[in-house]
């Protein structure tokens, strides 16, 4: 792939995301009313009826309406849980890398421990404990995905702490909070921004997985729950599973493409070598 084509794929990712965002924001205008209501005959294949271009499910619900309203859940969960993960990760990583010593030892062991236990299994348990709802899903996914950010931020802090501009600031009598917030953190954002897109992609996949297993918010349509319902008609109407699955895949793909592009843009040395 030429470098130009790669840049193009980054823009494609951004474009797909923009489309998803529009679908999510305009869901109520495009498809007013409850997407869980019946609108036509069941088992209509895509393109079979002009009214339901993506077909209907077992109960005659419009798949396109489900996709638009489902985009809300996916994007909301992705953004909110990524925000929690970044917040936690930056906090743990910054304290760890800045203060080093005993507190670093403890926080690193905690991070390692959370990397050891299967995150998805822990997320399932948390959602079960707190009962499935949008809030519990966001919290569960955020609390189980911060470790990668913490490790990245810690590594950045460990090296940046030794740099001359930080030492100069120390010599000028700056306090810890000033050093962390105004000196080091602004220089440590690059890897965090890139991994945020990956966190969001993972959150969309995990949310879909939870909903598929019956742990989605019971009051909302989600792509995962649509796939779960479509599974019952897998032999006769596999499009019911394929359509929402493609939506998940497309949005995750868009985030991955965007992440790759950001990574190349923000680390020029790698871009020249063609690595990653």
């Amino acid at each position: 792939m030429s470098a130009g084509l790669r840049t193009l794929s980054g823009w494609l990712g951004a474009l797909i995301l923009l489309g998803l965002l529009l679908a999510a924001v305009l869901a109520d205008q495009l498809y007013p009313g409850d997407p869980l209501d019946m609108v036509g005959a069941p088992y209509l294949w895509p393109a079979q009826s002009a009214q339901t271009p993506l077909g209907t499910d077992l109960m005659g619900r419009d798949l396109a309406a489900g996709l638009c309203h489902g985009a809300r859940v996916s994007l909301l969960v992705a953004a909110a849980s990524a925000a929690i993960a970044v917040l936690l990760g930056v906090l743990v990583g910054a304290v760890s890398g800045f203060y080093r010593g005993r507190i670093d030892w403890v926080l690193t062991r905690v991070t390692e421990f959370f990397q050891t236990i299967p995150a998805f299994l822990l997320a399932i348990i948390l959602v079960v404990v707190w009962r499935p709802s949008l809030g519990s899903i966001v919290l569960a996914l955020g609390l189980t995905s911060w470790t990668s950010v913490a490790r990245l931020v810690r590594a950045e802090f460990l090296t940046l702490r030794q740099r001359e501009f930080v030492k100069a600031s120390v010599a000028l009598g700056a306090g810890d909070l000033h050093l962390i917030w105004h000196e080091i953190l602004p220089n440590a954002w690059t890897p965090v921004i890139v991994s945020t897109t990956l966190l969001m992609a993972n959150a969309i996949l995990s949310e879909a997985g939870l909903a598929f297993l019956g742990l989605g918010d019971p009051n909302r349509v989600s792509w995962g729950s649509m796939i779960g319902l479509g599974r019952d008609a897998l032999r006769t109407g596999w499009y019911m599973t394929a359509v929402p699955g493609l939506a998940v895949m497309l949005s995750v793909l868009a985030l991955n493409l965007l992440g790759d592009q950001l990574h190349r843009r923000l680390t020029p040395r790698l871009a020249r070598q063609g690595a990653r």
Binding site: T116, A208, Q273
Partner: protein, 330 residues
């Protein structure tokens, strides 16, 4: 770092109990946070139960004691190899989990091996000529495989290979009623494993492709590669003998990290394919709030990940002697 701590087996001996203990404490806290306890579940399942009987049950299971006492009792039990009794399945937890463990080990082990081997191979191929045609195809496919939700891949594979083409079985451990024995039974099980392993591999393969590609490209810029080329080593000799060996280190690190993700992924895959392993067991346990089973599954998962990481550690030392003796490397 002291000598003892740099030995991987010593570290394993320290880490395994520490992780198991931490997991036990975490799970205990989580399950205490569940609305309603085991006795509430039993009471609601059996219909009308007198308050006296409920109090008696609470005493029987030690639920009337303080949380610290309960935790202590639980940890003491684990030390004796007693992981409790499952009310859902009507049998002690330890044999239940051990019974399901081999199915998951087979699934996750095969998927890990397949995705790592194939992923490293494809990643190295792609790195040979970055941005070339081969790289473009491999990288694009990897990005796609990395983006599809695993349970959806599973369902689509079922539609294609199970329903349309009828090539592979889509559910269960083996052909029930066929009465296969010995080697024939083993082959039948492997046959049933094709689609689940493929599902897990499609996703994790992509991860290895991407990392190996990046790592090999970076390694190919190193001085020792120039030396190898100058000595007259052919391009493919340099790639597979010299570059890949060095580039494998970060891939191995990832392998250790992925073990935990694979166990998580096996939950949905086992659920879709009705593969009777730990993943399916844990989902059943969560639905019926079967406390002891859940604790045991998480304990075993965490223990497994620690073991895999110890293996990875040992392998890395084999590949790069500098890790084993950091002082001598400088």
């Amino acid at each position: 770092m002291s000598r003892a701590l740099s030995n991987p087996w010593w570290r394993l001996g320290l880490r395994l109990p520490a992780v198991v203990l931490a997991t036990a404490v975490l799970n205990f806290g989580l399950l205490k946070a569940l609305p309603g306890d085991l006795v509430d579940v039993i009471a609601s399942e059996s219909g009308s139960v007198s308050a006296d009987y409920v109090a008696q049950l609470r005493r029987l299971y030690g639920l009337d004691r303080s949380a610290i006492e309960q935790l202590g009792a639980y940890l003491a039990q684990i030390l004796q190899g007693d992981l409790g009794y499952s009310f859902r399945f009507g049998e002690p937890v330890l044999p239940l989990v051990l019974h399901r463990l081999p199915a998951t080990l087979a699934l996750v082990g095969l998927a890990l091996a397949l995705s790592a081997l194939l992923g490293v191979w494809l990643g190295a191929l792609a790195a040979r000529r970055p941005f070339g045609l081969g790289d473009t195809v491999i990288s694009a496919l990897a990005t796609l495989g990395y983006s599809a939700p695993m349970f959806w891949t599973a369902l689509m594979l079922i539609v294609l290979f199970g329903v349309r083409l009828e090539w592979f079985p889509v559910a269960g451990l083996y052909e029930v009623g066929a009465g296969y024995q010995g080697l024939r039974l083993l082959l039948d099980m492997l046959w049933h494993l094709v689609l689940p392993v493929l599902t897990l591999s499609v996703y994790y393969l992509a991860v290895y492709v991407r990392l190996t590609r990046a790592s090999v490209i970076e390694t190919l810029q190193e001085d020792f590669i120039r030396t190898a080329r100058a000595k007259g080593g052919g391009e493919s000799h340099v790639l597979w003998r010299h570059a890949l060996r060095h580039a494998l280190l970060p891939v191995l690190t990832l392998l250790g990290l992925q073990a935990s993700a694979l166990l998580g992924g096996s939950i949905v895959v086992e659920t879709v394919f009705a593969w009777p392993g730990l993943g399916q067991l844990s989902f059943e346990a969560i639905k019926s709030r079967d406390v002891p089973v859940l604790l045991a599954v998480l304990l075993f998962s965490a223990g497994l990940v620690v073991l895999v990481n110890a293996l990875v550690d040992a392998l890395q030392r084999r590949l790069d002697p500098r890790i084993a003796d950091p002082a001598g490397a400088a």
